[in-house]
Amino acid sequence: MAGVLFEAVSKYFENVKVIDRLSFTIDDREFVVIVGPSGCGKSTSLRMIAGLETVSSGNVYIGDKIVNDVLPRDRDIAMVFQNYALYPHMNVYRNMAFGLQLRKYPREEIDRRVKRAADILGINQFLDRKPKQLSGGQRQRVAVGRAIVREPAVFLFDEPLSNLDAKLRVQMRSEIRKLHLQLNTTMIYVTHDQVEAMTMGDRIIILKDGILQQVGSPMQIYRNPQNLFVAGFIGSPAMNMIPGRLERFGDSLAIKTSVCEIEIKPEIRNRFKLDSTSNVILGIRPEDLVLTGNDDQNRAFGELTGHVDLVETTGAESMVHLSVHEIELVARVTSYSDIRHGQTLNLVFNLAKIHLFDRDTQESLCRDA
C-alpha cells in the first residue's frame, strides 16, 4: 500500500512542455481520477508514475521513496491499458500469470492468485481462451485481472473503458469502483470523460495544457469550480456562462448582462470577492435556471423571457435549449413538463447558486473556491 506524490514535476517532449510544475498528493488507498481534455498531459502523468516516461524535472514519489530512476518493474505498480494490451499468443491464464512467472513466483502461488482474480472478475470459464476469442468487456476484465494478480501497491488505469460500448462502460465503471472497495488499494484512473470522473473518484485532479486546474472531491469541484475552464468542463450539460458588468449604486450592487439585471443582496454578495472587479462572467448550472411557468405577458420582477430552440429528453429529465436575445442557455427540467420547440418561456436564476468569474483572469470570485 502506498500513496503517490508529485513534487513540481515537469515533462518536456523534445522542446515542448507537456506538464508544467505539477504538484499533487494521492493518499494511500484513495481512488483518484485524473481528468482533462485530450492533450492535457493526464496520460503522460500516469505514465510517469508507471515509469514508462522519464521525469524532466521534479520528483515522483511512490510511498515515501523517490522513483524517478526506478524501473517500472520495481515500482510495485500495475497498469490497465486502453486497448487492453493482452498478449495475443497467450491464453487468459498465461496472460494473467506472465508477470508472476517473470518474478519467479512458485507455481502454486501463481495458480492461487490467478484463480482468485478470475473468481473476483467472473472470468473462470475463459482461462483457456486466447484474447481474440473474447468480447471487449471480457478482454478488459482479463486486463484488470492481470493487474490484480500482481497485488501491487498502486493500480494505474489509462482510459480503460473508452473502447467499450455505452452500456458496458457503465457496468464496468461500477465494477471497478467495487473492486477498489474490495481490494482497498490506491487506484489512479485517467479519463477524458467527466462523467466517469464524477462517478468514480474519491477525488478528482483536473488538468489543462499540462497545468493543474483544481483538485477536490467531485461535489466540491461541481459546487465551487475554481475557474471558468473547470466550470465548463465538469457537469453535463455545461454551466451557462453570461458575460456581464458589476455596477455599484451606493451600497447596492447589481450585475448587468445583456439578458437581465440582477441585484446582488448582501447575503449573496458576502460569498464573493468583488472589490476591484467590474467585468465578470455570470455562471449558472442548468438545474439552477428555474422555469416559472408564466408566459410572456405576466412577467414578474427578475424574470427573463426565452425562446425554446430545442428540447432534449433523456427520460427522467429534459434539457431545454433557450435563446434569450443572443445568449444561448440550457435549463434542466423534469420530463413531465410539457415544453415544446418554438414556445416562449419565463425563467429566473436561483440566486443562491450563481457563480461569478473574473472575465480577465478567468478565476472564480467565490470565496470558497
Binding site: 508507471a50 518493474r73 500495475a78 486497448n83 487492453y84 494490451a85 493482452l86 517473470l102
Partner: protein
Amino acid sequence: MHSLAWQRRSQRMVIHLLLILGSGAMLFPFLWMISTSLKGPDEILSDSLDLIPSSLHWQNYPQAWNAQPFGRYFLNTIFVASVTVACQLFFSSLAAYAFAFFRFPFKSFIFIALLGTMMIPQQALLVPDYVILARLHWLDTYLALIVPWTASVYSVFFFRQFFMTLPKDLFDAAVVDGCSYVGFYFRILMPLSKPPLLTLGIFSFLGSWNAFIWPLIVTNSTHLRVLQVGLAYFLSEAGTEWGLLMAASTFSIVPLVIAYFFVQKKFVQSQAMTGLKE
C-alpha cells in the same frame, strides 16, 4: 438477372484465362528444362521445338550427378542457406525492434540512410566487399559465403513495418509486467512475428540457394562449392553439355519444390497477412 449472371461468369472466364496464360509462362521454362534433361545431344541441338523427347535419355541424370561431387554441393548449399537465414532473421529483427520500439538520437536519419543503401546495385559492391574479405583472410572459407548475408536492409524494413502494426501498449504492458527489453523480444515479439519470419525466411533461403556470382568469386576450393557454382561446370568454352546441365538443374531444384509443397499454404497466408493488424 440473366445478364448479371452472365456478366459475372464472363468476368470469371477472363480472369481464369489470364491466370492460365500467366502460369503457362511461368511453367514453360521448367517444362523445357525437364524435357531437355531427357533429350540426347543431337535432338537438343536440332531445330525441333518438341516438348516430348523422341527417346528418353535417363542416363543424363547419373552422368550429371557423377560429373561433380554434387552430394557435397548439396550439403554446402543447405548449410550456407540455413545459417544465412537463421542469422539474417535474428539480426534483422533485432535492428527492426530498435527502430520500431525505441527512441534514440538520429533514428530516422539512420533508418533512411539504411534504406538508401538498397539503391546501390549489388554489382557495384562486389569489389569492395571482396577487398574487405581478403583483408580479413576470409576468402575461400564458409565465413565468406555466410557473413556478408547475415543482415539485410530489406528484412529490417519488412520487420519494422510489421512491428509498427503491433500496439505500443503491448511493449509497455510487458515492461510493467517485469519483462526486460530482451525478454520482450523473445517472449512476446518473436512469437507474434511468425508471418514476417516465414516470409523473409523463404525469401532469404531462396536467395541463398540461388546465389551464384558471390560464391563463385569468393571460393576456389571444390569442397566449399555450392550448387549453382557446380552447375556452371557444364558450361565450358568447348561447348555446353545441355543435357547434363538441365539434368543437374532439375535435381538442384527438387528440395525447394518439395519444401514449397509443405509450406505453400502458410507461405501464401503469410504474404496476405503481413500487412494486417489483428
